[in-house]
């Protein structure tokens, strides 16, 4: 085959191979290409100190869940989930968070631009997987985390570093293919002092 014929064919084969690999990675339970890579990967979580969800004056659905600040992220691997009661995909994702919480995964919440009574009702109806919830009324903390779509879930390791950011609801396939392996990986990571991460 003459070079002039072979070169375009080779070029096509290379481009087809690249596209093929890319397509293969994207599938059910695989990468979601509409997700932007986070600029905060492997960086320490931003500084923030968010209050707890305000309790109701009457009492029945007063949450006792405390607020969330940066220091709380140190010491164990956790998921930080940015959610709101007005966000339908958050509602759809919620049972998965409940399942993970029952398995012992530490889940912290950032309640984004929500009314306290709506947030409380959401958790009362769907269950509360969060050991801590910080209220971000103005959305400024979410911007510090680089949040652009709701819900978003971050995997944070024991030294408080962001290891992964998931945009959109976690679907059941992604729990096993993405979330669980990452939690294991983050748990095995060394902290800055060289000691093993907390279990």
């Amino acid at each position: 085959m003459r070079p002039m014929t072979a070169i375009p064919i080779a070029l096509f084969a290379v481009i087809a191979a690249v596209f093929g690999v890319y397509l293969w990675q994207v599938g059910p339970g695989g990468k979601d290409i509409s997700q932007l890579p986070s600029a905060m990967i492997d960086k320490p979580a931003p500084q923030f100190d968010l209050p707890a969800i305000a309790g109701s004056p009457d009492g029945p659905d007063t949450l006792r869940t405390p607020g969330l600040k940066t220091a709380d992220l140190k010491g164990r691997v956790s998921l930080v989930n940015v959610w709101a009661s007005w966000c339908p995909p958050c509602r759809i994702e919620h049972p998965i968070l409940m399942t993970l919480a029952k398995e012992g995964v530490t889940i912290y919440g950032i309640n984004y631009k929500d009314r306290p009574e709506d947030a409380r009702r959401f958790l009362r109806d769907l269950g509360n997987p969060f050991t801590r919830i910080g209220v971000d009324q103005k959305g400024r903390a979410a911007i510090d985390w680089g949040v652009y779509g709701y819900p978003e879930t971050f995997v944070v390791d024991a030294s408080g570093r962001i290891r992964y950011r998931h945009v959109g609801p976690i679907n059941p396939g992604q729990v096993d293919s993405i979330i669980r392996p990452l939690l294991k990986q983050a748990a095995g990571a060394k902290t800055a002092s060289g000691k093993d991460g907390g279990k």
Partner: protein, 155 residues
């Protein structure tokens, strides 16, 4: 005349913007800088509009953050860096010129040049083949051609 008037009105109409009155800074110099910076930042919800154009709430929040940074004394590049630190290079509508984006910037030009060279080389080869001299006809071949052309089938 009406047509010209229509064109004149359309061309001088102020561009639509998403900036709300309550976002506009008091200091006009700062506000101008904020608008200029906002036009360079991508709205990540819509992804094809700048935050200056987008009506999304995230765009509004980012516009306000930019104005806060400028009011706090940041330079233009410091304010932009604040956003890029949180959202990555993709938030810039104009990709930065660095090692990882080199292919993006000069790739198309390179392919164009390669294509032009390819066409040039192909053309040269082709012309070479066509211009190759043809061996002259022998007397026998010449006779056969004359016979065919004059309509007499041979044998």
């Amino acid at each position: 005349m009406k047509f010209l008037l229509l064109i004149a009105v359309l061309l001088t109409a102020p561009a639509a913007q998403a900036v709300q009155p309550d976002e506009i800074l008091q200091d006009p110099a700062l506000e101008t800088r904020a608008r200029a910076i906002s036009k360079e930042l991508r709205c990540l919800v819509c992804q094809n509009q700048s935050i200056d154009d987008s009506d999304a709430t995230l765009a509004r929040d980012l516009r306000i953050v930019v104005r806060e940074r400028l009011t706090a004394g940041d330079t233009d590049s410091e304010a932009v860096a604040f956003i890029v630190e949180r959202y990555g290079d993709f938030v810039l509508l104009r990709p930065p010129f660095k090692a990882s984006t080199l292919v993006l910037w000069i790739g198309p030009a390179l392919i164009l040049v390669a294509g032009i060279i390819g066409v040039f080389v192909w053309h040269r080869r082709r012309r070479g083949a066509v211009a190759a001299p043809v061996a002259p006809l022998t007397a026998d071949e010449q006779a056969r051609i004359d016979a065919l052309l004059s309509g007499n089938p041979e044998r």
